[in-house]
């Protein structure tokens, strides 16, 4: 167990760097947890364009309600709708609300009353949805309790700040839990990759320097024993990091774990760890230069995280980038736990892809190692 113990001892010598890595990760993760789920935000005056095709008392009342806290411009039907949309894209306006001519019928049919167009990625979208929902839920409540609705009085009540709370259903809560944990695990996958490539890369580069390796090679320790001990030590470190991060995620979200496929997330993290170690094996066979190792680690980890939808949602990336993502292991890693209720059958394909990538890199590493031996 000499090599095994020595590698662990080396990792221990990097304890401060490891601590910095893990602390930085949890600071980011904690930041995410504070902003996740859209639970709280501060409202601000919105710049809205309203197209009123209904011209009814309700629609006028709705516009008055909107105007109380926001800058509202009522535009007529003839206005170029494309130009209005472009204003949203350019950030000049926060959204367009189109009130259809059959507003009252829609309310009676419990169909969506108005059409809201806004940038769904921004917080303004949530605020518009909230403001609109608040008005029509209140209106619906008024209509169901009295035959005639006094819009002015209702607007006055709303202005007084009658709290209208939208209660989340169990499904929505589960979805929010999953959404947070899924982002956490994706980020953890990226972090593990970066962490292992840098820390394991630095530790193992020392073991792979020519002089040290020669000394080990002339010893009676069989190559197989040496490899087993090296792989075991790296696996222990990898598993430690996986468990630490997953446990950390569970701790951060204690009480919000319903609907999260934790086992599949654990499997995904274990697989990405194996894949990272196989990449490291290839890098180790190519070079023992720590600068090159660190550079490659950053390039591969950040590059793959960016192209696989971990740093930037794939949906907003171009079609080519989305196509490329399908060929990257980190993308398949995220697909293992893509849905809260994903079945093992659905997870098996991305699992297989990551396993195949790992095997491919191991084979490449072995070929490079052999070439190096033959060259000597």
């Amino acid at each position: 167990m000499t090599v095994f113990k020595s590698i662990l001892l080396h990792f221990w010598k990097y304890k401060y760097l490891m601590l910095i890595f893990l602390t930085a990760f949890f600071i980011f993760a904690f930041g995410f947890s504070q902003n996740s789920g859209g639970q709280a935000y501060e409202s601000e005056a919105l710049d809205l364009k309203v197209i009123d095709q209904s011209r009814s008392e309700i629609s006028r009342g709705f516009i008055d309600y909107l105007s109380s806290d926001n800058t509202v411009e009522v535009v007529d039907d003839s206005t170029d709708f494309g130009a209005l949309e472009e204003e949203i894209f350019l950030g000049i306006s926060d959204g367009i609300i189109r009130i259809p001519s059959n507003l009252e019928e829609r309310l009676a049919d419990a169909a969506p009353a108005v059409e809201v167009i806004s940038d769904q990625r921004g917080m303004a979208h949530l605020q518009i949805e909230n403001v609109v929902n608040r008005y029509f839920i209140f209106l619906d409540a008024e209509q169901s309790t009295s035959s005639e609705v006094d819009i002015e009085q209702m607007n006055a009540l709303l202005a007084d700040g009658v709290p209208v709370e939208l209660h989340e259903s169990v499904d929505v809560a589960s979805q929010n839990n999953f959404s947070y944990m899924s982002t956490f695990i994706s980020f953890a996958g990226y972090w593990i990759m970066l962490f292992l490539l840098i820390i394991v890369g630095n530790v193992m580069s020392e073991f792979n320097t020519t002089e040290l390796r020669q000394r080990i090679d002339v010893s009676p320790m069989p190559t197989r024993t040496l490899m087993v001990q090296m792989i075991s030590a790296q696996t222990v470190i990898g598993l430690f990091v996986v468990c630490f991060m997953l446990y950390g995620g569970i701790m951060l979200r204690a009480g919000h774990l319903e609907g999260i496929p934790l086992v599949k997330m654990f499997v995904a993290l274990v697989l990405i760890t194996s894949f990272t170690l196989s990449i490291h094996y290839v890098i180790g066979a190519l070079t023992t230069n720590k600068f090159i190792i660190n550079g490659l680690a950053n390039f591969l980890a950040i590059g793959m995280a960016f192209m696989s939808g971990i740093m930037v949602p794939l949906e907003i990336m171009g079609e080519t980038a989305q196509n490329i993502a399908h060929y990257l292991p980190l993308y398949h890693f995220t697909q293992i736990y893509a849905e809260p209720d994903i079945s093992w059958t659905d997870s098996s394909f991305p699992i297989l892809i990551v396993v195949l990538y790992t095997a491919a890199f191991l084979i490449i590493g072995m070929i490079l190692e052999n070439k190096k031996k033959i060259a000597s």
Binding site: K5, S6, H10, E206, E211, Q214, R215, V218, P220, P222
Partner: protein, 309 residues
Amino acid sequence: MIRMENVVKRYNELIALDHFSFAAKEGEIIGLLGPNGCGKTTAINCMLSLLTFDKGEIEIFGQQVHPNNNAVKSRIGIVPQELAIFDKLNVYENIDFYCGLYVTDRKKRKALVEEAIEFVDLGKYRKFVPKKLSGGLKRRLNIACGIAHKPALLFMDEPTVAVDAQSRNFILEGIRKMKAQGTTIIYTTHYLEEAEQLCDRMVIMDSGRNIASGTVHELQNTISTQERIEVGFITEDQTIEAQLEELPHVVKVTKRNGNYLIHFEKQENNLPDLIKFMESRGMSYTELSSERSTLSDIFLELTGKELRD
């Protein structure tokens, strides 16, 4: 203990070992000498099974060398020229790691590591990481890592390179102690005076071949120049050099620091003959000294180049 017979090692077109043969007996210190690129390290690497070879035979402890012959490997130690120690591990941990590759028993290993630390006198520095040690102390650590498991055969590749005089003497003394304990040592060095002091026999290598081997005395007998006499004269005369060359058994006459250096063939009475000769010619001298051929002379005559070429 070691038998290397007609070993040939090629790197594509380059012949690193050209039918190289040599043998070492138990308890000997063998100096492997030669200029850079002469094949010393290749020969050692072939003996250690770090390299395969194209032709020939190598036997250590009566067994063929092979990367999987762990019985042989367990009795060998190596002190490479480049420091092969872990920067992150301290003195004790470094020695313990290398000793652990050979000795699995924890108690026994602990005792061996302590012994090695004492042997290289690094007791005060056991908790120091290599970057906090001086060059000489790092060399001692490098040696301790190679000898902790008490090998019967030890390869030492330039162990005193870039070491201060005090550490060098310490290392050489340690090597003598190991020899006294029965360890066979294959020692490569550029320092010929070190090899002369330390080695029982020497193997001189050039272009991958064993061009001469034996004790210093045996090697001195293999070359034409055996003795050099340096003479300083009171007056400078143009004819002195020509007169000296008339002396029997003189190989050549050269000048050194304003004096004349006369290179003689193997012969018993060179000095008395020279004195008689100078008296007969009325040549008054101020300085007269005789020196035997050194390894450097032997090397120069055998290879036509300086050892450090």
